[in-house]
Point group: C2
Chain length 350, copies 2
């Protein structure tokens, strides 16, 4: 089946609701700023690049609903919406990156009519969307060079079509390698608590005919020891300027395990995931989510209801553990501040 | 609440059904050899020491149901039951250890009347049961010496009251340290696919007033990196004579992560868990369980139904990763063949 992670058509912003996939396949519409916030916060739409695109369109939805007002008041409202949307999830920087880009475009056109600015914002959201799709292709092409015929690849969470508006980041590499005729098999860990691996990656890779094997998160060390894994590839939610990478909780464990077994560990992400304002990973904010997500699975309790639980949504993998970062601009092996500087990623005004 | 993991009273063998704990608390009776087999195979009763005790009583249930027969035929049937029960689960050696012990006692008393032999078998099962309880206490006492006031301990799966007929192995150490007035806090990982950590360990530790925090399996590396873990303690299903240890899947990953963070990694197990017939961990059979256990949680699918899954129930942790093995006979630091030999564990005739 074909699906659109995010679609903006005739003024309507729709997404495939990822919360109950693959059990329930349904499209929902975000018709207000509150809807947009809630879709991001509850993970109806997730994945760092996807929430960037979604927030950009979301801002347009919000701006269109504003009552006619003076320019000054319009901008005040615009900034308020931007701050509100930014607060929906703290870790993935693509969200604030996209909103800052929208903000800058609006400010650059302050002198124009409000209706013109609104049109410019929509145009910019469409550019961000188009760029995201194109970047996925490029990440796939650069990354596929690292994949050999016969490779067994372990991936985590979902860094695929559902996390972007194109073919993904980590999974774009897999799709591209497969398309090139390389015979590969992929282990996907289920990625508790929200099971993005088992629900989303397994589902989309299965549709694309990838040879996949689902494992539980705690099996990764054992399959590495058994020699079943040649490479690990994951996505990213924010990368500090020294290469330290925030990604879905569990990524750090995989990186340590990969290192202990001499398995290359790759991060695939567009340049919008880099945050050059941060010196290292210690400065990346880690979202803490509800304890209930750990005590429940698919909304049903399996653990005692009153037990305490810890639920960081992300962890930080130090650059030392990363063999290479795959971006749309190329592959940076053994990433460090010096090499990443050469990426020439613009830090946006905030 | 008080519960009996296994109870044998007035000829009736009952267990607390661990499959739906803590959602449903119910006792079930094993009234035939088929019941006994099925209770072990489906994990209604689980935990290496507990299934040893249960199989010993189970054999008695089976023998009592045999039709009156000649001695030779009685023994043939007895051996058949033993082989059948041994085949219920392959990894935990305590199961065959207990059944071999029962077999040897029967053989030693071959000359006696069948009814006398049956009585002797019941007596032996009760001795195994009593010994198991006592060993838990001793493991707790020896292990608690390793625990300092203020320690944060990570444990995996369930190596507690529900895995034994006493206070457990790994959890016995925790219970004893707490009883000694040491202030400790415990991280318990949920232990997919069957969630023994979230369902069983969280439940029994909560009842005993232990300060616990539930995490998902993939969070362990991150909490170690954050300095939240001082020690890791796990149980064991079989220990080869060089100290290589089979335990619930996920144990090996924890051991590698603990080593990478310089955190002591302890294994707690009674001497019945040692298998001196095996040179090392490579010789330990690993039970492969149904793929459905990975694709479902609490009997509900979350992954695509037709996806392939891998489900080894155990993994092997090489002795190099184990700081010490805690047994009822004492603590063996940095275990190796030479040191384990001194344990003087009898290898039973088979």
């Amino acid at each position: 089946m074909r699906f659109n992670t995010i679609q903006y058509k005739k003024g309507r912003l729709t997404i495939i609701d990822q919360r109950m996939l693959p059990l329930k396949i349904r499209t929902i519409e975000a018709d207000s700023i509150k809807d947009v916030y809630s879709c991001i916060q509850t993970l109806a739409v997730r994945g760092a690049p996807a929430i960037g695109v979604f927030a950009a369109y979301g801002l347009v939805i919000g701006v269109k609903k504003l009552k006619p007002a003076e320019k000054k008041y319009f901008f005040k409202q615009l900034f308020r919406i931007i701050d509100y949307l930014k607060s929906s999830r703290p870790t993935a920087v693509n969200l604030s990156w996209a909103l800052d880009r929208m903000k800058n475009v609006a400010c650059d056109n302050y002198a124009k009519k409000i209706s013109t600015i609104t049109g410019i914002l929509l145009k910019e959201a469409k550019v961000i969307h188009r760029e995201d799709k194109a970047q996925c292709e490029k990440i796939g092409a650069h990354g596929a060079k690292l994949i050999k015929n016969g490779d067994a690849i372990l991936t985590h969470c979902n860094a695929g079509c559902l996390a972007t508006t194109g073919s993904g980041t980590a999974l774009a590499v897999i799709y591209k390698a497969k398309q090139q005729g390389k015979k590969i098999n992929v282990y996907i860990d289920e990625t508790r608590p929200l099971l993005q691996g088992a629900r989303l990656s397994a589902w989309e890779m299965q549709q694309r005919g990838v040879d996949i094997t689902l494992i539980c998160d705690n099996m990764s060390g054992f399959i590495m020891k058994q020699g079943k894994v040649d490479k690990v590839i994951v996505g990213a939610d924010r990368i500090a300027r020294n290469g330290d990478t925030a990604n879905k909780i569990g990524t750090y464990s995989l990186a340590v395990l990969a290192k202990a077994h001499n398995i290359p560990f790759y991060v695939a992400a567009p340049s919008s995931t880099f945050d050059f304002t941060l010196k290292n990973g210690r400065e990346i904010p880690i979202e803490q989510r509800s304890q209930e997500e750990v005590k429940k699975i698919m909304n049903v309790y399996h653990a005692p209801k009153k037990v305490k639980a810890y639920n960081p949504a992300f962890d930080i993998t130090p650059a030392d553990y990363i063999s290479a970062i795959i971006t749309e601009k190329g592959v940076i092996e053994r990433p460090c501040s010096r090499k990443l500087k050469r990426l020439n990623v613009k830090t946006l005004k905030r």
